[in-house]
Symmetry: C2
Subunit: 371 residues, 2 copies
Amino acid sequence: MGNKYSIINQEKISEILITHKQKIDAKLEEFFHNKISEAGLISLSGRESIEQIRSFTMRGGKRIRPLLVILGYKACGGKNDKAIADAALAVELMESFLLIHDDIIDQDAFRRGGPAMHKAFESKFEGHKTEAAKTVAAHYGISAAIICGDIVSIMGSEALISSDFPLREKLKAVEKFNKVVTSTCYGQMLDLDSEAEQDIRKISAEDVLAIHKMKTAVYTAEGPLHIGALLAGAGEKQLKALSDYAIPLGIAFQIQDDILGMFGDEKKTGKPVGSDLNEGKKTLLILKALEKAGKKERCIILGCLGNRQTSLEQIEDIRKIIVSTGSLEYSKSLAAKFAAECKEAIQKQGLDKDTTSVLAGLADYIVNREK
Amino acid sequence: MGNKYSIINQEKISEILITHKQKIDAKLEEFFHNKISEAGLISLSGRESIEQIRSFTMRGGKRIRPLLVILGYKACGGKNDKAIADAALAVELMESFLLIHDDIIDQDAFRRGGPAMHKAFESKFEGHKTEAAKTVAAHYGISAAIICGDIVSIMGSEALISSDFPLREKLKAVEKFNKVVTSTCYGQMLDLDSEAEQDIRKISAEDVLAIHKMKTAVYTAEGPLHIGALLAGAGEKQLKALSDYAIPLGIAFQIQDDILGMFGDEKKTGKPVGSDLNEGKKTLLILKALEKAGKKERCIILGCLGNRQTSLEQIEDIRKIIVSTGSLEYSKSLAAKFAAECKEAIQKQGLDKDTTSVLAGLADYIVNREK
């Protein structure tokens, strides 16, 4: 490919992702099957909660986070393919936990082409028509989703503890798992305070990138890679090498996520287009557009930001502004710059060469993906 | 005392509880101090969340759960006093996590003589007067409290992992910690469904005791004792002996909690009197009163159950019904029966004798306490 990096091509990445997803999904199904039997012995309510968690988890995703656990493990010389696939479930379960609670916080009704968890529980009371009954149903939904999030968060830790690795490595992996959740929660708090901040002039592009770093980069990329690496007994130097790759990867991932949220195909992303906008999320796309836009265009954006009644026409208008101000191009080139940084970083260090070429290919995939 | 049990007196139990609380509180302060410094390096929002968790945790409780960790450890021959006190923080942090989420679910505004966590965060927006602004403030409060609960849940696991015990014992303790949280969550789901159940005739005293067993007995008594025991390297037989003591203790604890919730002194309990009633909790006190009451008295109870506008006079009326139907006496004698069962169970097995006499004394304390 005339490339200065050792990198596998995108076709091969797609193949890896498909095979990987099948493997992880089969393991998740087995995991939930056991949990459902276990909970069923205790109570019907418990069983129902696990069934909801199963449905929510199985509906979703490309399983990129578990793939990163496996790649982090292999990059540091790990050879036990079965054990690492078992442990990798932990980060997918962590993802379900964080999304379930996040959807309550963001008041998102849809996720992964289906209802958010609190909406799934709320719908048990669909027959109720009065306002008072609707309030009760909504609170029931939120309550059940808080509890389900708590249950699945513990499942993540359990998947690590029950995996077939030496005690010392396992405990280090659980410690890292805990740190990742905490860091993501701090990011969530920062996010929440930034959304509560009415004055958009007080939010800078740097703030947004700081949240991406704390929230997405750590829990999407660095955390999974480190968990895998620690299970392979990695040392500080290898962890540092993986971080140098992971942090720009995570930021690129989030920028692309924001682009898909505004310009993506709802059928592929599983989330209503423009929902970040409606929730008042100050994405890089929006901040840059506001910075470059004229007075009239600024008014159009600010009128829709955080307004849950935004129409599709208004979203189309805002898309045009994001394009015309160069904000889309800015985000795209920033994502590409971070992807290039990843590829550069991963080649330098003492990691397994076959694995680093997959990681390099994955960086390209992340910024070019459509879902 | 002419007692067939080896049991220390209540005065001694009070002394033990006071010294113990001082020790645990000092350790909690140190733990939070470190966490606040750590979070402060990351973000102001993160730091603020830990400060709220600290205030919520320090305001509360007798630290009975950490005491049970320590007693479980000593009962099984554990000798490292410092390490077990460090590990014991885990269950107090678990308690904060569960209470923070529980208060959102139960829509409780007060806890431990102060605001519930979601109310503490909501009050940041106190100046806002319009209905819309109030809705935003309430949602902000709930969101921040969900995240804080998640953060403190991880802290519990961290306190165990960082304690000075061998890897194998530590991992077993974390596994137990996870199981306790899961079991409590299943209990919460059952509780939630029982509250959503409008037809009170479908809820039996057995259902209520099943919830007590799943929720309170496991996380208040058996879980802490087992975590301590596992850190001492206990075997199946010792764990079983502790369970035989713990399950009746936990049920007695919850029955007494329900009694204090209806008849206790608000200043001592830290919760508004009658709040269980207002939330529609079908406690044993209420169920038994309904069973024995005449038609008119039944109407009075059902009119207040789940009604958040219940007046102090109405609560006083219901108290009288609970007394006159013999329901209070029934709950009291049931709690005493369970306490006797505890004392009987703890003497039989191969546990450290000095510790079992403290455990026996604690059973009496639990059913006689006023807060």
